[in-house]
Symmetry: C2
Amino acid sequence: MTKYEWIAGEIQKRIQNGIYPPNSLLPSQQELAEEFDVSRLTVKKAIDGLVISGLLSSQRGVGTRVLHPTIPTAPATAHNGLSALLPEKDIKSHIIQFDVTFPNEALQQKLQISGTQPIYDIHRLRIVDGKPFVLERTYMPVDLVPSLTKNILEGSIYQYLQEELKIRFAGAYRTIRADRSNKFDWKYLNCETMDPVLEVLQSVYLNDGRIIEYSTSRNRYDQNSYSVLDVIDAQN
Amino acid sequence: MTKYEWIAGEIQKRIQNGIYPPNSLLPSQQELAEEFDVSRLTVKKAIDGLVISGLLSSQRGVGTRVLHPTIPTAPATAHNGLSALLPEKDIKSHIIQFDVTFPNEALQQKLQISGTQPIYDIHRLRIVDGKPFVLERTYMPVDLVPSLTKNILEGSIYQYLQEELKIRFAGAYRTIRADRSNKFDWKYLNCETMDPVLEVLQSVYLNDGRIIEYSTSRNRYDQNSYSVLDVIDAQN
DNA sequence: TAGTGGTCTAGACCACTAC
DNA sequence: TAGTGGTCTAGACCACTAC
């Protein structure tokens, strides 16, 4: 644990315990630096992290203010897979399709590979606490994810990628849209003909820029939404 | 313009000009610091910004790599209002409703105010290039936005807030969901009975933690989507 | 083993705010 | 005018990677 991580945790604790109440000003960076016996830059790095999380807001010439707890803190994101997102829940996967094929033009572009590079084409229904939750269609280049098995698909692909293959993600790009439901949604998500679905299109890329996944996730509109915290750094 | 902003711009230019091609390693931070005659920390700050924008990816022990241009750079966000988001377009607003009332319980909670504090209740159809684009319902505490007029509503509220009232936002929290269309959507967005809508629920808050806006935006599903770039800092 | 990026220090200067 | 946070320096140490 780095110093700034420890300090960020300490400040967070004090906010929770009411030592730094909502809407109050934190001690100045200089004062905190003296208290924690670190340089001011280290305090600033800790504060910057909490600003990004939506807990604090800094303004030059004024200070750093504790935001109201009403503002939700940074929402959980989806790049670690459903299993990491809902750790408490019982998550199962029903495999609808598990194929290896060559990518069509659209997928070649999405995955940034040639037409001769084989890909996995995986269609899964994720089931949370016994209820159909999300219908996922996932495409992955075979060479980046060797020896994928049905057994892995029934659990968490991401756990396998991270813990077994030691793969590290650099980022994900998502587009969220609404769509009419289709016959697959009706069948697997148990939704009504009139029901819309919330669809998340996701590209996951690695440190070296290669794209390891392109996927579309179709969610029941009444059970799922997507949240984003957007911190504005208009600077000072 | 700060030094690190200038350097970030310079690196970005070199990527665009192919001097730093996709998938290649940048010169080391030390080398860049010498070239630009700044400290390494300043170079790092420039690089960090480009990592957040999705252009670069750094890894300790390895270096900083240029990502494929396929990966979309940081998507435009919505906190500056539609007018800033679509600067090229001709944006008009049709005012459906413009009232002052007291907030109900749900809105008291969303805006974090008491029931005796008056709010604006604004219902607008935003029209882009002559086509219905999004149906916005906006709630704002009156004391934060004094003297709002129909004239302002017909243009951009955000421009008024930022340029006239000099108000600065600290952040926004959004939830994106799909919904069935209702009679307002049919009437104003011109959509079919079967069509879903993409709804964005947004809270905008200020530096001092006060919430200046809670709004719901309903978009035609076939004309709008919401994009997010999520950079993962698994550190090292 | 050499080179990388992440963290950290102890200073400094300055734009900005509130008074 | 005093105090704040943002930027910047010239160093240092170290975890990590590739060889």
